[in-house]
């Protein structure tokens, strides 16, 4: 895992002026990983569970971000991919006794295929029309999961109970800690992969399509293929998050994967910062903790307070947390000249 940041540092062909900033970034990233590794030994197990959930939502948001932030396609249907991932894991474990670690790649693969196939017809649709198509997907999935003839697999409206994985016997940790580390590992791998994807030729093609589809096509980028592929990869990320979610919660039910989840992911995406990979984790934090904060202020008006917090955040940081951090960094005079050279992942 720790290999990723090093690679990340090498990737952009850095001008000398960029170096100090990369070192800072290095330090921050390294520090964050160390803290993440130590946390499970100091926090209560339910806090560990919450943090696991934060990472899972962060990963799902990253999936959405790949599609929306980097490719400019809009989706209200990511709850569906999250649900497919969760159900793939749950069904494989519950009905076929597949070990949990195999369900993650299985969920990813399933969602990649579904996402890719969904991306094909979605090619013809843009903006709001695409939003409607994905929205249809979000509405349809709970209904399909409840659908009577499929009950033999899905458990219908009653849902499926998933056994939580036991930690490997040679490690002196409990289930929550194990799930935490498992999730952390998966998240780091997938974040690294996303970083590499974005900074590769493919990534540039994907972003070119976002910025100017016509020019991109003119330059010989196969827009259809890349858009469908992006859809597939995006679904893969969210699907793996769903599978991890099923393991963490140990239960899946159709109504967990409704439009509301899609909306939450979207909120997390915007709050974290569209087009920012670390921003996704911040989005995950927001999705998990802000409803709790809202509720602790007033139970009766929990929804309204959530809305007000959301508005305040949007007012203060209209570009999301990532944009806000960039803005703050930009204001620091010492770093100003450094800042101008960085492309980052953000338009």
């Amino acid at each position: 895992m720790t290999a990723q940041p090093e690679k990340a540092a090498v990737m952009p062909v850095a001008t000398p002026a960029l170096r100090p900033r990369l070192a800072v970034r290095h330090l921050v990233l390294g520090g964050a990983i160390v803290i993440a590794l130590v946390l499970p030994f100091v926090a209560k197990s339910f806090v560990i569970f919450q943090l696991t959930q934060v990472m899972i939502y962060g990963l799902a948001i990253l999936g959405l971000n790949i599609l929306t932030g980097f490719n400019g396609q809009f989706s209200l249907g990511h709850s569906a991919f999250y649900g497919f991932g969760a159900y793939t894991a749950a069904i494989l474990m519950h009905r076929y006794g597949v070990p949990y670690y195999l369900t993650l790649p299985a969920a990813g693969a399933t969602c990649f295929v579904i996402g890719f196939l969904f991306g094909l017809p979605a090619l013809r649709l843009q903006n709001l029309y695409l939003a409607l198509a994905t929205f249809a997907l979000a509405i349809a999935v709970p209904q399909i999961l409840k659908f009577q003839p499929l009950e033999a697999w899905t458990g219908g409206v009653q849902g499926l109970v998933v056994d939580q994985p036991d930690p490997p016997p040679f490690l002196p940790i409990d289930t929550d800690q194990w799930l935490y580390y498992l999730t952390l590992t998966v998240v780091l791998i997938l974040c690294g992969a996303a970083w590499n994807l974005v900074h590769s030729r493919t990534g540039r093609a994907i972003m070119a399509i976002r910025d100017n589809p016509i020019a991109a096509s003119a330059m010989g980028i196969n827009a259809s293929l890349y858009k469908s592929l992006t859809f597939g990869v995006s679904a893969l990320y969210t699907g793996v998050a769903g599978a991890l979610g099923a393991l963490a919660v140990a239960f899946v039910a159709p109504d967990s994967f409704n439009l509301l989840l899609s909306v939450s992911l979207l909120v997390g995406l915007v709050i974290g910062g569209v087009g920012s990979i670390p921003g996704c984790l911040f989005g995950g934090l927001f999705v998990l903790y802000v409803p709790n904060i809202a509720e602790s202020i007033s139970t009766g008006l929990a929804g309204a307070i959530y809305g007000i917090i959301l508005l305040i955040v949007i007012f203060v940081m209209p570009q999301g947390a990532a944009g806000f951090v960039r803005l703050c960094l930009g204001r620091l005079p010492r770093l100003r000249q450094v800042q101008t050279g960085s492309g980052g992942g953000k338009p």
Partner: protein, 292 residues
């Protein structure tokens, strides 16, 4: 055959709800170039205001007019206070602001007026339109008012200077500003009108679905679908789309064996998406051509 007729009529009646919402959705889309996800909740809140006024003893029509006026002011205020400051932020940030507004209005209404359903009066009566008719007075009235609003809007946008200015402001803010149109106020005006149309829609829908904080949720979802199906650039298309969604949903739910009942919503949505494959700008929408 009789069943088909019944289902089509029932579909038209629910379709009128969607058409109302779709019209409001398209209205605000015309004015601000965004879909307002809080539209349904704004309509619901307006309807509660009307209900409260009537509880305080005002007659229906007075409450109706007051509510439309209050909603107009409310819409303008929301634009000025909440959306003006972030109008330069990315579309997605605006979208999140809509979600926030949704949450605030929904939760606020539940807090003020409770969640138990309330009846809302109708000026059209609920007797069948004529002996043996398949739709009742209110449903007919709802369809009539929706079409009436559509006509008025058409005249407003095509026939008045203000309407033209609003269209210009939404279509091309920069050029509109250059010819002296106060684009900011046009947007605010658009919000006000959309809120008023929403209020009328809410007051027409409430007698059918009962008044409660979540009453517009379904209506908005289908209204949204209807608007997109009909074409977001065409108010008439949106109304037609709304009716179409109502009919498709009912007929598909009744006549597609095996899957139909449980998956009727899914089937309706799949059909809509399929239609959009062939008409990517909706049935009546203009194809957007962008300049490179």
């Amino acid at each position: 055959m009789e069943l088909l007729l019944h289902q089509v009529m029932a579909g038209l009646a629910t379709g009128a709800i969607y058409a109302c919402m779709a019209l409001a959705v398209v209205m605000i889309y015309q004015a601000i170039d965004h879909l307002n996800f809080a539209q349904g909740e704004m309509a619901m809140f307006s309807t509660f205001i009307a209900w409260q006024l009537m509880v305080w003893g005002l007659p229906y029509w007075l409450a109706f007019i007051l509510t439309v006026a209050v909603s107009f002011i409310g819409g303008v205020l929301i634009e000025r206070v909440l959306f003006r400051p972030i109008h330069n932020a990315p579309i997605l940030s605006n979208l999140v602001a809509f979600i926030a507004l949704f949450s605030i209005l929904n939760s606020g209404a539940g807090y003020i007026w409770d969640f138990t359903i309330k009846t809302f009066p109708t000026p059209f009566g609920t007797k069948p339109l004529f002996a043996g008719a398949l739709i009742d007075g209110h449903e007919a009235g709802m369809i009539g008012v929706t079409l009436g609003m559509l006509g008025l809007l058409y005249l407003f946008f095509r026939g008045t200077r203000l309407g033209l200015a609003m269209r210009a402001a939404a279509a091309n803010p920069e050029s509109a500003r250059l010819v002296g149109i106060r684009v900011g106020w046009m947007t605010a005006l658009g919000w006000g009108m959309a809120a008023s149309i929403g209020a009328v829609a809410g007051m027409l829908i409430a007698p059918v679905v009962f008044l409660e904080p979540n009453m517009m949720l379904g209506g908005l979802l289908y209204g949204f679908a209807g608007a997109v199906l009909g074409g977001l650039t065409s108010p008439a298309g949106a109304v037609a789309g709304g009716f179409a969604v109502g009919v498709i949903e009912n007929v598909a739910g009744t006549f597609i064996p095996y899957f139909g009942r449980e998956l009727k919503l899914t089937i309706a949505l799949v059909l809509i998406v399929a239609v959009l494959m062939f008409r990517p700008s909706g049935l009546f929408g203009r194809r957007e051509v962008s300049r490179v």
